[in-house]
Amino acid sequence: MATLKDFAKKEELFTGGHRLCSGCGIPPIVRLVLRNYETPVVAANATGCLEVATTIYPYSAWRIPWIHSAFENTAATISGVETAYRALKKRGKIPGGDKDIKFIAFGGDGGTYDIGLQSLSGALERGHNFLYLCYDNGAYMNTGIQRSSATPFGCNTTTSPAGTVIKGKLEKRKDLTRIVVAHNVPYAAQASPHNWSDLAKKTQKAINTKGPTFLNVISPCPLGWYTKPEDSNKHARLAVESCYWPLYEVEDGVLRVTYKPKKKVSMEEWLKPQGRFKHIFKPGAEGLLEEIQSQVDEYWEKLLEFDGKPVY
């Protein structure tokens, strides 16, 4: 296992000077993930914060080959790139011969849970050799904080506004990691940037597994969560400690919970400092916090039942 000192000695493939917000949760994930590659890597990127803010013409923050084509087809794009590489390699048309090249696709929750779901599903089913990394900040932050299917229950967004009658988003969030696991992929995991060693280990496993692999990483968003930029990592930590964002992996069909909090943090502690949940602590929203807590508890208990057991 590489240490931070080892990682720091490697070349920075994602430069500063991008226009992502101060305190954004995405760049630390991308920087760490790219450092785990020992081979050249090609990235595809769905439309989203990461894409628009890192490639404002004529600047690019990427020191690797990078492609963006549209919102909904990142997984299809990387499938095509990977297939072209395999075909050219077979015909001996790759300069440098049999060089091993890896492929990664980045998408936000909008570009993965909602808009890019069909292309992701297709690419997973076809079994391309790539890693799909979803950074989940729980809404369409780039276009003005609209709800997505990853937005938590009860959350205030511009398209699920909390008012006097309706208290934020009425629907439960989609469990994308489970949907991906249902494709019988060899490796899928959930991670968080606050636990860099866990994220690095999972990335290593995903990179070194043949076939489609998937990482779902929570990404704190000071803009859309209405939190302080310096608290981003704290919020990622609380999301995990409260069991809202369980860290687990599914390797060859066997689920393993990789982190169990010694003492579960209450959802109140995590939600209270977040502006997007301030309405649930005001009069008129009685019972909402309890409802959120019971949903999280129920999910965590279910997950623990599967710990160490095959899920398909």
Binding site: G17, G23, P193, W196, E230
Partner: protein, 93 residues
């Protein structure tokens, strides 16, 4: 990098990582300051920095890239509680 008056043919960006030439240091309200005597070079600041603005050489934290640091304060808040080598100071006008 071509200037705006003479863009390259086809608008091609000829190499990667050009964002490094764009400075975001002007976003800062607070600046990080490190006390090297307290610092244990754990490099937590380096891994949490969204702007690749912690300069690490030979496994040691040697300072900040102030041209790109946006002053988010993640390095200071994640610096281990017992160490607190990094603090945030108000940026002078």
């Amino acid at each position: 990098m071509s200037d705006k008056k003479s863009p390259p043919i086809g608008g091609v960006i000829e190499r990667g990582g050009t964002a490094h030439e764009y400075t975001t240091g002007g976003w800062r309200k607070f600046k990080p300051v490190v006390d090297h005597e307290k610092c244990i070079n754990c490099l937590i600041c380096w891994v949490v920095c969204p702007d690749s603005a912690i300069i690490a050489e030979e496994g040691k934290m040697i300072g900040f890239d102030m041209e790109h640091c946006k002053g988010c304060g993640l390095c200071a808040s994640e610096c281990p509680d017992k160490i607190t080598a990094i603090t945030m100071e108000e940026e002078a006008d």
